[in-house]
Symmetry: C2
Subunit: 702 residues, 2 copies
């Protein structure tokens, strides 16, 4: 590929000379260049004058039709500027500025009579671009063999990555040079009920990168709608990533009909890692909220009947007497209960009481519905009906009981990835929720997808996740979908998507443990697309207390668990441990009770991928601030509190790792102290290995 020449003009908006055009960000920090070179669309991206994406080809290969990769001519360009400030229904900030310059390069492919456009939006913190397929010329229906968008990296830079997979993102992140990806990827990956790697150099987005010059670069996608999920495959000789979409059951990667667009391919960039965390680029590239009324969408702090099963190995199932279940044949009333499954009336009431006593909004109950004796691993079609409770879960009584205490139950729909079955029962399941007063559902997609041959991240399933969401909205139901496709900012458009999993969550602390760096990389990567239901708050690290056979360990200090409520932004936050554990640490638990789940303002004070993150956030409609700091390794730092309101004196309550705390050997050692602070104060952090620090700032004097 030849490097193309550009005439550089002073305008920050796009200019065109022959077929070479450019568009710069409002401040000029970021610039995208576009050209058609020998018929091939080529782009590159610069940050502060440095090329962070070298000239890279664009296009798509089609099935049974000429490719959309070459033979193009530039018909013309359209440019515009845009600046708005919008208010999310919930978020890290009450107001988000969406400020970019836009360039649309209109292309034609004369040999085929087809049209394709490439649209760039250039922000001061990055670039989004997408393919647009107008209904002009001869392009109507087309099938994507593969998208061939290149991201040519400026050398053998550092990456934080998880292996490319069509069905799961539940991996630990690797940190390596690009040239090392192949060797590490070949070392094998952990088992998951559904996983499909596609290439020894395949990686997932959001992908965090860093040049040796200290420029942080993040590659992801925004507004993944009616398309298949973006992965990347690396040419590790030339350090060029190429887009790699998720195939359908027949190996094709997208079925499109004009007029349509691809999702945005996003590049967030800065020489300050904190800017990557603060970026709203992915949200901004999504469409505004589609719902007229959003009054029913509210952030949720919740507890749940969950860690008893995940962490303490109690069963979701009601009985041990059913080796195989056919839902339409089984009569549970005749079966012997195992006596230990936690989703029973008495235990759920205990959780409701605890939630009411400590100000939680909701109580999740998993294992409430029939079918769990035989639910996974068999690609079972009629696996759940999402409507029939076990005999010892009195759905009417428990909801009444909860409501009488100002608490709601949270619904749980594990689909076992039998998606036709879920869609068939969805309307009735949502109506059941309406009837009993549920307004949120945690859904799950464990195991291989039915229809068979489809993948979690293909176009078919992306369509399903959005269907489940928009159907839920008709019932004013909020959705927290686990094992779904990576989020891409759709929560702006559909803010009842209040959470996703789409990464390795706290549950892995029970399975095999998470690394101490894991939550130090997630905000850079997984959280770019939207909030994660990470389910923090585990205070008892030693799970062998509940199951002596257990060898896994929760690899954080208690203070790290507290700090996660701030560093892992989400409008949906769980206190995941069990009530009897919290009762042993009520002083530390106070932070979880206090911390907000919706914010007016967020500031990132310190950050380095996979190393440390310090964030502070101002609670929505309040003068309280909350700070969280986490570090993979032991770390000291001194923070200026200049983000605080200079007119207010605060009482800071500091939840700090004890000097001898250590995530492995002494995780429950913490020290809580209080002091008065102002915006002129400093705060010293002293974080243990795998530790953290959490601080609440409550106004005491104005």
């Amino acid at each position: 590929m030849k490097k193309h020449a550009l005439l550089l003009l002073s305008s920050s908006l796009a200019v065109a000379t022959a077929s070479a055009v450019e568009v710069s960000s409002p401040s000029g920090t970021v610039r995208a260049d576009f050209n058609v070179e020998n018929g091939v669309p080529v782009y590159s991206v610069s940050y502060k004058g440095e090329k962070v994406v070298l000239p890279s080809r664009m296009g798509l290969r089609l099935v049974g039709a000429d490719d959309l990769t070459d033979g193009f001519e530039l018909l013309g360009t359209d440019t515009s500027a845009f600046d708005e400030t919008w208010q999310p229904v919930w978020g890290e900030s009450s107001h988000i500025r969406n400020h970019y310059n836009e360039l649309t390069a209109r292309l034609s492919q004369p040999a085929t009579g087809r049209r394709m456009d490439v649209k760039f939006r250039v922000y001061d913190d990055g670039v989004g671009f997408r393919y647009e397929f107008p209904q002009e010329g001869r392009l109507n229906y087309f099938v994507i063999e593969d998208e061939r968008t290149e991201f040519a990296m400026p050398g053998d830079i550092t990456a934080w990555w998880i292996t490319g997979d069509y069905d799961t993102q539940e991996y630990e992140y690797n940190q390596s040079r690009l040239s090392e990806i192949r060797a590490i990827n070949s070392n094998g990956v952990e088992g998951n009920l559904s996983q499909t790697q596609f290439s020894p150099t395949g990686v997932q987005t959001s992908l965090q990168l860093k040049t040796d010059e200290g420029i942080y670069l993040n590659i992801h996608e925004a507004a993944l709608v009616d398309y298949s999920c973006l992965h990347l495959e690396l040419d590790d000789k030339n350090f060029v990533f190429t887009s790699w979409l998720t195939p359908d059951a027949q190996g094709n990667k997208g079925h499109l009909q004009t007029p349509c667009t691809s999702p945005w391919r996003t590049l967030i960039m800065s020489d300050d890692a904190r800017d990557i965390l603060a970026s709203n680029l992915v949200l901004n590239l999504n469409e505004p909220c589609r719902y007229d009324d959003t009054s029913w969408i509210k952030p949720v702090k919740y507890i749940g009947v969950w860690w008893e099963m995940i962490g303490h190995d109690k069963p979701w199932a009601y009985t041990y007497d059913l080796p195989s279940v056919k839902l339409d044949r089984v009569d549970y009333s005749n079966l012997k209960p195992n006596g230990v499954h936690p989703a029973n009336n008495d235990n759920v009431k205990r959780y409701i009481d605890f939630a009411a006593a400590h100000g939680f909004d909701q109580v999740l109950v998993e294992g409430w519905n029939i079918g769990w004796e035989d639910w996974s691993g068999n690609k079972k079609d009629y696996v759940f009906d999402f409507q029939t409770p076990y005999p010892d879960f009195d759905i009417a009584m428990l909801n009444d009981y909860a409501h009488s205490k100002g608490v709601r139950l949270m619904m749980h729909h594990e689909t076992s990835s039998s998606v036709r079955n879920y869609e068939r029962h969805m309307e009735a399941a949502y109506r059941l929720m309406d009837k009993y007063g549920y307004n949120s559902v945690k859904s799950g997609y464990v195991g291989d997808i039915l229809p068979r041959g489809e993948h979690h991240y293909g176009q078919w399933m992306c369509n399903h996740y959005l269907y489940a969401l928009t159907e839920a909205a008709k019932h004013k139901i909020m959705v927290n979908a686990h094992e779904a496709v990576h989020p891409t900012g759709l929560c702006r458009t559909y803010p009842n998507l209040i959470g996703n999993e789409s990464a390795r969550g706290t549950e892995y602390e029970s399975f095999v443990g998470n690394s101490t760096s894991h939550t130090c990389i997630l905000p850079f990567t997984r959280l770019q697309g939207g909030p994660m239901d990470y389910t923090p708050g585990i205070f008892e690290n030693d799970l062998s207390k509940f199951n002596p056979a257990k060898t896994s360990h929760v690899n954080t200090t208690i203070c790290r668990q507290l700090a996660l409520y701030v560093t892992m932004y989400s409008p949906l936050q769980m206190a995941a441990d069990v009530p009897e554990v919290y009762e042993r640490f009520m002083d530390a638990f106070q932070f979880i009770k206090d911390v907000a789940v919706d914010w007016d303002k967020s500031v990132y004070l310190e950050a380095e991928p996979a190393a440390y993150i310090t964030a502070a956030r101002k609670a929505k409609g309040s003068d309280e601030w909350y700070l969280g700091a986490i570090s993979a390794d032991a770390r000291k730092s001194k923070l200026k509190l200049d983000f605080l309101d200079p007119t207010i004196t605060y009482e800071a309550t500091i939840y700090a790792d004890a000097p001898d705390a250590h995530y492995l050997t002494n995780p429950q050692a913490y020290k809580i102290s209080k002091k008065k602070v102002t915006s002129k104060s400093d705060l010293s952090l002293n974080i243990a290995p795998g530790g953290g620090c959490a601080v609440s700032f409550k106004p005491v004097v104005r």
Copy 2:
């Protein structure tokens, strides 16, 4: 394979010696032998002492598990006799006798600890057998690689067959020796929007066969539920058919969970071809009706806005101005109507008037709903919403108008095989029908299936067809599903399945023409599983009168069209031609007005596969009889009318081909005569090439 020895005992029930067992039919005419030979289950079938199925192996190959084909031991046998008479909701007879002897051979596979049974039901007109998989031992979930049921034929016998295909049955039948199948099959098959042949010797069931000794044998299946459709592949050296199931998107042929069974594999046999047509074996092998209330299920005689499009080439689409439709974006109110699509208010009212004037129950209207501009060939997901009428179809007004005249409209749901989309809209679509007073729907599955990679006849789709049917029953809606899997007698269990297409129907008279033998073979084959919406009644053979470019021709005489209302049994009968054609032939049309669609009794007077069929039926709750006779070639015969009530004198109205009638050159030449007849009378038939004869018998003197 060794021939196994049997001790023949006098009992007509099963006896066992070592592992060889037999079971005979109540009269002893038919006998099934079963043995486990060197661990392999083997059966054979005899008719009047002659082996019509030679020793044939049974079993299934599994995916990722030991096969269920050998290593078996016979644990024991259970035998029983059964005799009942049941009343179908609708049918060829008001009472059906279900009389058989049953043998269950209980097998174990010691090396794997698994169990499998083979159950035989032996009737005087044939045998049904199936695999049963109890939930005992180690067999729980299993995936079928292929079923390996053999049907070893007693030589190079004659077969009437259509090519094996996973997606369509819309073929002309071939008549050949078994040894000739490969050569004929390789001659290529006609195009269809979705077709998938699997083998040069693959054929579909129901398969009609005839030995040189004159024994007629029919192979099909009964009660196809939660399994994939049966086809057969021929070993044309040894004349052994082996079952060949329809694969899913991943190539697997069935996903089962114990306890479960295969469908019945059916063998109907007689030395009189008429017995094959009269057999109720397939219905009898299905479960009794599942619905408590069937009062809402009624046979239907209907006309429709359909042949104008199929035969006269008018469009389903409302406008020519939409090359591509996205349903959620298009506003039809702004588009220019093409002015010729027939599903408009005025034209539909004209059909309603005609239906009311001539006593039809319903008027089908195709092309009433938005999306037809762009509906097929693109594997389009959101292709129809089944709810939004075109601007010129006033659904409320037209239904009110129809109801005011004692007529109903018939709904039409073309899915374009986008099955997820149909299921998503199904409940709303059925509710729309409830709202406007529709009680029947013609559904269609044109084109390749979505989910992609699935086939029309796979387990996934069989599950869907049944879902559409049982969901319809909740709304008291009757279903007539076109392009669905071949019927297997499920209409006994779910009698709101009042019709299917599942064969080459009258529409092909417009496309390329049907052979004159086609409707002489369908009752032997396609109709074994249930009624067909063949849509007879085309009186104008020359379609170039409506579209000068058209070269196809309707290859029957008018009298054949009349006779089909009797020879093609169905509770759903269409008078498919357009009102203005019928108005030219009102004397012949009188037969269609008169003929019943439900019957107390049916007799088959003459029959030979693909050559001729003469049937007479007594109208339900009436003393009227109707007779239909058809013949591929010119044919004369003399019938005894001894089926008539000997106490009644009838006026017979005879609709006969004129002496010079011919399906090609003079198809509209007929002669209508009346005479008094009794059960002692004879009736001479003189059928033209491609012709037929229809007779109504109305009591005049008792």
